[in-house]
C-alpha cells in the first residue's frame, strides 16, 4: 500500500460533524493528478479524476467499512480492499487513489485522504487493481 496522505480539511470536517465514519458511504476514486493536501477539501476540487470508461465509473467504487470502533481510547477505521477491474477497455492512466465521503451534502463529498502509487498505471482489459488497505492498522486512527 502506498503512503497515506491526509487532506487537511478532513480534521475540521471531522470535528464539525460532517463525517460519520461508521455509517456514511465511503468511496475510492482514481486520479492521475495529485490532490492538494491544503487546497483540496471536497471531490469537486479535484480536476483529474478518471472518466467513466473500461469498467471504471466516475465517482469511483464504494469502500465498505470493516471496522469503525475504539479500543482504549483510540479510534480505528478499517475498510475493505477495493478492487477495480478493467472490462471492455482499459482503465487509466491513474496514479492516485483518493478516499472521500459520498454521504454529506454540505459540504458535498468531503475528501479524507489519498495514496500515491509512484507512477501512472493503466489496467488492460481483464486486469484488476487492488487498493490494498491494511487490515490491522486500518485507514486511520484518532487518539
Amino acid at each position: 500500500m502506498a503512503t497515506y496522505n491526509k487532506i487537511q480539511a478532513f480534521v475540521e470536517h471531522l470535528a464539525e460533524k460532517v463525517h460519520n465514519l461508521g455509517a456514511d458511504t465511503l468511496k475510492i476514486l482514481l486520479s492521475n493528478a495529485a490532490p492538494s493536501a491544503s487546497g483540496d477539501a471536497v471531490k469537486g476540487d479535484l480536476t483529474s479524476e478518471l472518466s467513466t470508461a473500461g469498467g471504471y465509473t466516475s465517482g469511483g467504487s464504494q469502500a465498505t467499512i470493516s471496522t469503525s470502533a475504539q479500543a482504549s481510547g483510540t479510534y480505528k477505521l478499517v475498510v475493505n480492499d477495493v478492487v477495480f477491474t478493467a472490462s471492455a477497455g482499459t482503465i487509466g492512466p491513474f496514479r492516485y487513489a483518493v478516499l472521500y465521503n459520498d454521504t454529506p451534502t454540505s459540504p458535498a463529498d468531503p475528501l479524507i485522504a489519498w495514496w500515491d502509487y509512484g507512477s501512472s498505471i493503466t489496467l488492460a482489459d481483464g486486469e484488476s487493481f487492488t487498493v490494498d488497505f491494511d487490515g490491522t492498522t486500518g485507514v486511520l486512527t484518532i487518539a
Binding site: A23, T64, S128, T130, G135
Partner: protein, 100 residues
C-alpha cells in the same frame, strides 16, 4: 494454518499455476459476503438520498441497522479475502481475478 494460508504458501513455492484455486476461493468469499454488503449498501443509499430530511432519531435507527448487519459479517472471511488479494497481487499492484 487455514486452507487459504496453505494455498498461499504453496503459491509462493510453486508460482502462478496455483493462483487458480485462490481465485476460485475469492469468488466463493464474495458470494458469501455480498448479500450482507448489498443490504448495507441499500441502507446507505436510502440514508444518503434522505440525509437532509432525516430526523436524528430516524438517522440513528438506520445507522444502528447498518452496524447490526456489519457485525454479522465474519471477520475471518474478511481477513481471508484480504489475504488472497494480497497473495495475487503482482509487483505493480495488478492481478487477474477472472470471473466467478
Amino acid at each position: 494454518m487455514t486452507d487459504t494460508s496453505a494455498q498461499i504458501a504453496a503459491l509462493k513455492a510453486h508460482g502462478d499455476t496455483l493462483k487458480v484455486p485462490l481465485r476460485k476461493r475469492y469468488w466463493e468469499i464474495e458470494a458469501l459476503r455480498k448479500p450482507k454488503l448489498d443490504k448495507i449498501a441499500a441502507l446507505q443509499a436510502e440514508r444518503d438520498a434522505n440525509i437532509d430530511n432525516l430526523t436524528p432519531v430516524q438517522d440513528r435507527a438506520i445507522i444502528a441497522e447498518i452496524k447490526h448487519i456489519r457485525a454479522q459479517i465474519d471477520p475471518d472471511i474478511e481477513d481471508e479475502r484480504r489475504e488472497i488479494l494480497r497473495a495475487l497481487l503482482d509487483d505493480d499492484g495488478k492481478t487477474r481475478l477472472g470471473s466467478p
